[in-house]
Subunit: 467 residues, 3 copies
Amino acid sequence: VLDSHTAEADRLLPADPATREVARHLFSRVERLPIISPHGHVDPALLRLDSPFTDAASLLVSQDHYVTRLLHADGAALDELRIDEPGSAREVWRQFCRRFDIFDGTASGYWIGRELRDVLGIDARPSADNADDLFDRVGALLATPRFRPRALFERFDITFLATTDDPLDSLEHHAALAEDPSFTGRVAPTFRPDRYIDPQAPGWRESTEALLDLPAATGPTLFERYLRALADRRQHFVSHGAVSADHGPFRPRTARLEPAEADSVLKRLLRGAADTSEAELFAAHMLHQMARMSVEDGLVMTVHSGILRNHHRPTFAAHGPDTGHDLPVRTDFVEPLRDLLEDYGTAPGFHLVLYTVDETSYSRELAPLAGFYPSVFLGAPWWFLDAPDAIRRYRETSTETAGFSRSSGFVDDTRAFCSIPSRHDVARRVEAGYLARLVVEGRLPLTRAEDLVVDLVDRAPRRAFKL
Amino acid sequence: VLDSHTAEADRLLPADPATREVARHLFSRVERLPIISPHGHVDPALLRLDSPFTDAASLLVSQDHYVTRLLHADGAALDELRIDEPGSAREVWRQFCRRFDIFDGTASGYWIGRELRDVLGIDARPSADNADDLFDRVGALLATPRFRPRALFERFDITFLATTDDPLDSLEHHAALAEDPSFTGRVAPTFRPDRYIDPQAPGWRESTEALLDLPAATGPTLFERYLRALADRRQHFVSHGAVSADHGPFRPRTARLEPAEADSVLKRLLRGAADTSEAELFAAHMLHQMARMSVEDGLVMTVHSGILRNHHRPTFAAHGPDTGHDLPVRTDFVEPLRDLLEDYGTAPGFHLVLYTVDETSYSRELAPLAGFYPSVFLGAPWWFLDAPDAIRRYRETSTETAGFSRSSGFVDDTRAFCSIPSRHDVARRVEAGYLARLVVEGRLPLTRAEDLVVDLVDRAPRRAFKL
Amino acid sequence: VLDSHTAEADRLLPADPATREVARHLFSRVERLPIISPHGHVDPALLRLDSPFTDAASLLVSQDHYVTRLLHADGAALDELRIDEPGSAREVWRQFCRRFDIFDGTASGYWIGRELRDVLGIDARPSADNADDLFDRVGALLATPRFRPRALFERFDITFLATTDDPLDSLEHHAALAEDPSFTGRVAPTFRPDRYIDPQAPGWRESTEALLDLPAATGPTLFERYLRALADRRQHFVSHGAVSADHGPFRPRTARLEPAEADSVLKRLLRGAADTSEAELFAAHMLHQMARMSVEDGLVMTVHSGILRNHHRPTFAAHGPDTGHDLPVRTDFVEPLRDLLEDYGTAPGFHLVLYTVDETSYSRELAPLAGFYPSVFLGAPWWFLDAPDAIRRYRETSTETAGFSRSSGFVDDTRAFCSIPSRHDVARRVEAGYLARLVVEGRLPLTRAEDLVVDLVDRAPRRAFKL
């Protein structure tokens, strides 16, 4: 009797029977709505080339640093999680299955369970015992046409998918997809200029020099050439369907520099003569400039801030970025963004979506900001906070101040293509559960909750990202 | 069936049936208790003159920056929300009704719904369709004697109402009310000296010069004259029934200066020769001096800290203060208040009530401070945190450390007179729900919960504010 | 009917009936498991000498600064809570009973209620009326053999108890207990070097000079002698069964100094010629050195950070440390620990258990750190956070990122010997309730929850503390 409390269909819905009943009803209104994914990291080549996924480990483990970080914490060396020679995929998968228990209670564990079940139709819990069997079964499925990326794109019912791209990217995959009559999905690039505008980002100098080599880099000063080249690349993205520009500053600081000062700082930076505080000031000024360009060219400005990248330098040296030790730090928004918001916070058409990994900022800063500035949207729970209880806390700590209309809608922000449906499913269930509680506590009419659940899934991302 | 889960009477009570039953029982003990409002911003002239409210927009929208800020975020210009010419009240009301959906899930939306229903007897949800009808119906009601301020004061059953006043205010309205045999309520002023003690507050120099022109401003040094004038004005407030002095420093920093140093800093500040750090130091010293005066004259010291005022300077320039862009920032208490608490924290009779908009400080700093210092009381959730879920979190994050006896009781802190009953009703329901959970989890005997719910509503504010 | 909602056995379990049923089932699997207490402050002499406890006030009130701080906040002078002359114990007990209501809803109140009931068999709520009767009854019980410390140790079923000890302690009590055939428990010392490695700790200079007087303090430089003496004392602890070294820096800052620089700073510190920033730098370097020694000698490194000690200096001057005004401050981990983790974060066998009193760090920093570094374990909720709702928040804010395998298991951290069973009971109930919710929300199979509840109580502390 204990194990039968929860029907499979009721997972993640609140335990209280009355609330669960309302939540189930609300969820049913959005369960099958198409997926809108306005920010993420899927490789556009995946859809352009439509090459089959090769094996379970590549699909679910080795590319996903949410997963490898926990395996590493549990004692697996990152070397052992790399797929680089024949047979290593199976070895990685065995590691994963053997250690699967450590994922209990985590968002990653939940998603992978759902991917196995809902995408692959496999209703088994990974373990040392079934590792080889699962590897073989998944491999066999992935070799069939039903599991090719485009077939899954269609099956997942994705109506809009944004990738994240380097400003100098040719966007050839996006162009090819747009021209391909056999592919009807909408896949848009996103302009992500961090390594061109943050002098402390790895590779900044080489990137900036490449930018300055572009034909569009004309003008009387170096800084002017630099700005024009950036603006030109943004136009390239706009013409390829981009709707947003994404920024990942360590701290969301903004500042205003006079053009002459910016020019002289840029010169010192390029010849390595500037110190850290000048580098930070320049980055702050460039965030301000990016807002100005967004006002001008209409790209939605998204800011993902508060992550200290590559915390463990020895691991970075050996394995490169995105290896699980990007770690959150305390993040303020109200004071750091003041200059930017004074200049552009009420500019017509400007959209600024703010994401945080410091959930204390929801009630303290982000909801109050979004509750005054027409440009500011409250970004969905991001990275470590993209999980059932954290999403619930996001609603509980922001809605009483900012309501529902100021939220960006869910963003999966993933490079793990097959996890997209599970992630959206989790968000939809949690939203339904939150709304159901408001109904049962007499704080929201049921009819409004019925509208709002659709609004959050469908209209909110369209509004925030101008789709 | 879905919409009938929650009886009107059970709103805001917990969903679990057993907990709800206990909560309903506890709430019944306080539902009709008189209202004690020891801190707020109602204009005393309202009650002295007893002029009728004019229209729905003036009553519920244009004066309430909780409401106008969200309308602004939704696209309404602040100009469109100002009532300044014939017909503009109706236009403002239409804006509000048309956009009413954005208030779903917010505290403001909940309060306005209750005001319409409980105060005005109108059981309709505002919308574009019924805007004019509602405007007319509300206008007609407000013209009747039942809806004059004094009649409402009596109907609301307010036994104590504190206003917030400028130190140089004559307090004539308070004096007149006290002498008026036809008005039996108790309306007390509150001494709010920010613009006289914080050199960074707008108008500080003019205010301070006016203060120094008072006859009481005598003494051997400028600083001594300044202190004596302040002390004299506090006495003026005491003699008009004030029970507290309220302070709104940006950060709750305190410091001790030698009198000679304070004198010289004050002089430099007045002639514009001091820098920001001196201004901050002087403000910190004056917060310390205010504590000393509270120890001497018995006024309860309340501190509302952590708000960055007038974030969007262009809006401030065009529309003045209190226009919805006062925004919370991270706030610390333990270190900044150390000097003050060392000198006065155990002084007999001293009461210091601390409010925050950074809810992380409840469990980390405020409950531990209130759990040691006999002077420190944990202020009720304030401003953005005065909402059902936030009040619940306040209890959950403070009670396990500080118990119930260290809390200030609910404070509505509003200038929206008609929202007072709704705000207290929300707090009472949430307290009842929290206590009910403790009972159902076997953490509190029911008989104690029955006492405590009354204590929190009635005895706690009397204790903290010396009523 | 209202008072019978909760069976005594169901206390602290979730209210929802289905969740409660699962929680009850899970709790039954761990309710009677032996207690593992890998960090705390019980005096080893208590068990070595086995002297009877003397009276209720000494047992439950005067030694427990969780309790005296709230009595102080309620108006009791600390003088009145000291037991120093005949009859004062009874007076202290009367104070406590008279004010018992202030403990409602607090963790301390809950523990004391359970101690009276479960340890002493007294089912009465303290009050002014029954104070003398309770004092007499408790006194009579404590005089019987059943209530001697060793008998209670056995009754409590404690399999491992760590004390906290000064590095220069002879550990004679530990040696005597280990050799005593009549005592079969395992009582281990813990190396706590704060006053030898933090130049701002009270008594640092005298302690350090005593350390340098040891025979082991040999070497070419003063700093080398200092390090060797510390390493030697750690070996002394290891040979007496210690499993961990505990550190309580104000901020968890770490830094690397060259040996020559460390030597020169140490010299300046000892002759009082160093400033605050040098003192802080030295403390940061020594935290880094302690990690190195832990890598070498295998002692688990625990860090309890973020407490401002002795906030009210007048009380410290009159009553000494541990008098209830140690107060939490905001604490960061990711940036301050970077140097330490770069050097030792992936060192084989190194264990670093991080505790916080700033619960915002669970989701933001501690879970992400523990989710990458194999050395980092997420410490159980500590001090003010060791309470039912706070423990629940700890799980809710850390599990989705770090899972269960990275947590240290419960740590009671108490000097109140008789509260140990109640504290562990609370933690077990809250863990069962949290796991039950995951089961009922379809996020965890019941069979895994059955394993995990045992894992958290039994295997987690063994794993983190290498038992």
